[in-house]
Amino acid sequence: MKFFTTFRKKSPWILHYNAGSCNGCDIEILAALGPKFDLERFGVINTGNPKQSDIFLVTGPVTYRSRERLVELYTQIPEPKVVVAVGSCTSTGGVFRGMYNTEDGIDRYIPVDVYVAGCASSPQLIIDGLVTALEILETKSKAIEKPFKLFGAIETIGNKLSRLNMARKVDNDEN
């Protein structure tokens, strides 16, 4: 599998999810993908599909309604994967810390590899964070990393790990 590792480093695809941020970091990610900062010179493409992504860019302090989506997206990204928390509120809760509908930072739910500071993070910082993430991606193996907080459980069905239940809804009542 050494063969693929080389390419993974050369063309990391990112998945971006807004877990309740103010948009500031999201537009800075867009600006970083734009021509002035040109994140694409590292081979980075913004993709909407978690199954094809290597790097998970998260912004926002995790609101109650985005918790299951965050864990669900995290579990869908194939190993090895790197999580980058963009912005102060993503790392610690920031200005939203203690507000009634937020969790204080995404590291309560999923393991974070790189924290990018700033409110809002500037494109330079985001690029720096992504380059650090690439170095971490190289050293990672295909071992499954579990999220810290699960809504369901990892089961073994016929000698295979099933992660289908990992991000079950908080309440069974589907709405």
Binding site: Y17, N18, A19, G20, S21, C22, N23, G24, C25, D26, I27, E28, L30, A31, L33, G34, P35, K36, N46, T47, G48, N49, P50, G60, P61, T63, Y64, R65, S66, R69, L73, C89, G94, V95, F96, G98, M99, Y100, N101, T102, C119, A120, S122, P123
Partner: protein, 361 residues
């Protein structure tokens, strides 16, 4: 047998910047019903403004409601607080605040246009507009110290002054930008593939705009002449060359054109502000505690932003009500989706320029 199919869009999707979930009820390719879940980014800013933060800090907290129009949020709150404290800002402060709001409008509109182009499948135009947008971001960074979330406005004035070198930078960058916007206007008007995606698609009629209380560029594209800049007297907009931009067709093309022509108008206003900047202090001491009730309306890039602030003479306010443009625009937006093709949905959605962080607070 069921005749319709349900297609979900979101909450995570490549064409969405922010989480919002739509449930489209489709009959073949035509959307006949739509349901939206907008509460993904609800954080609880309104309660925090009246519990955890003092009134002097709230201006910086409400800026974090939305990163794109942060300056209008802090301006609206600050104006309300200043009215409660009985303070009237001098002309220099007013002009500097207007300058930042108009610069913010330019960059927000450019981002929306870029996003609309991307969702119509025109990646190169997205890159071109994002490149042009950096001219404004550069100016904002030079004036305020940060690219977005510049906490520029405080109670009693602004936090940084505009020096003559900065004035030159504003003039230079806006000069380059106005030429680029002319090119964009030609492109949006004449490009064949953009016309196919934009003209006659996603139409909001004038009648519906009145019924559903559309606002901002969405309303002005349908011919409803409403703009808070013309309906409030807090700032001397008319003296600086403000004109209301109204289109009549109400489709995506008209909304793009309202935005493009507003950028041109805003550039002219910014130039006028920089050329006619009055002298004076940039920050004054304001004493007292807010007491009473005050409402303030400001034209954010997406429409009318409304603040209601009530204080009882204490350090902590009693109520801060934030009504954001997208929040009241949602019923009109849902109406536009009905009857259009599912394949056009991302482009129509981007043309509204929805801001979910604003909506859910």
């Amino acid at each position: 047998m069921k005749k319709t199919i349900q297609i979900p869009l979101g909450s995570q999707h490549i064409s969405l910047l922010e989480p919002i979930r739509f449930k489209f009820e489709c009959e073949n390719e035509t959307i006949i019903g739509v349901d939206a879940d907008v509460g993904f980014v609800h954080r609880g800013v309104e309660l925090a403004c009246t519990r955890s933060f003092e009134f002097k800090q709230v201006g910086y907290v409400v800026a974090r409601v939305c990163g794109l129009c942060a300056i209008t949020h802090s301006l609206a709150y600050t104006l309300a607080a200043e009215k409660l404290l009985g303070y009237v800002a001098n002309d220099r402060i007013k002009y500097l605040r207007m300058l930042m709001v108009e610069l913010d409008r330019i960059h927000s509109h450019l981002l929306c246009l870029a996003h609309t182009a991307e969702n119509a499948g025109f990646e190169a135009l997205f890159m071109q507009i994002m490149g042009d947008r950096e001219l404004v971001m550069e100016v904002q960074e030079a004036i305020s110290g940060n690219r977005v979330q510049f906490d520029y406005i405080c109670i009693g004035g602004v936090n940084r002054d505009l020096t003559s070198e900065l004035c030159d930078l504003v003039r230079k960058n806006l000069m380059i930008l106005s030429e680029k916007v002319e090119v964009l206007i030609g492109l949006f008007d004449n490009n064949w593939s953009l016309s196919l995606k934009y003209k006659g698609i996603g139409v909001l009629s004038l009648e519906d705009a009145y019924t559903y209380n559309a606002l901002g560029p969405l309303a002005r594209a349908s011919g409803l002449a409403t703009d808070v800049r013309a309906e409030t007297s807090d700032f001397p907009y008319e003296a600086l060359g403000y004109t209301m931009i109204v289109e009549s067709t109400g489709d995506i093309h008209a909304r793009n054109f309202v935005r493009l022509r507003e950028i041109v108008n805003s550039i002219a206003m910014c130039r006028n502000i920089v050329d006619n900047l009055p002298m004076g202090e940039i920050q004054e001491k304001v004493k007292g505690k807010p007491k009473g009730e005050e409402i303030v309306r400001i034209e954010a890039p997406r429409g009318e932003l409304f603040y209601l602030v009530r204080g009882n003479g204490a350090n902590i306010l009693e109520r801060v009500r934030i009504k954001t443009p997208t929040f009241s625009g949602i019923p009109a937006m849902m109406e536009v989706f009905k009857g259009s093709q599912y394949a056009d949905a991302p482009a129509i959605l981007a043309s509204f320029d929805p801001c979910m962080s604003c909506t859910a607070k």
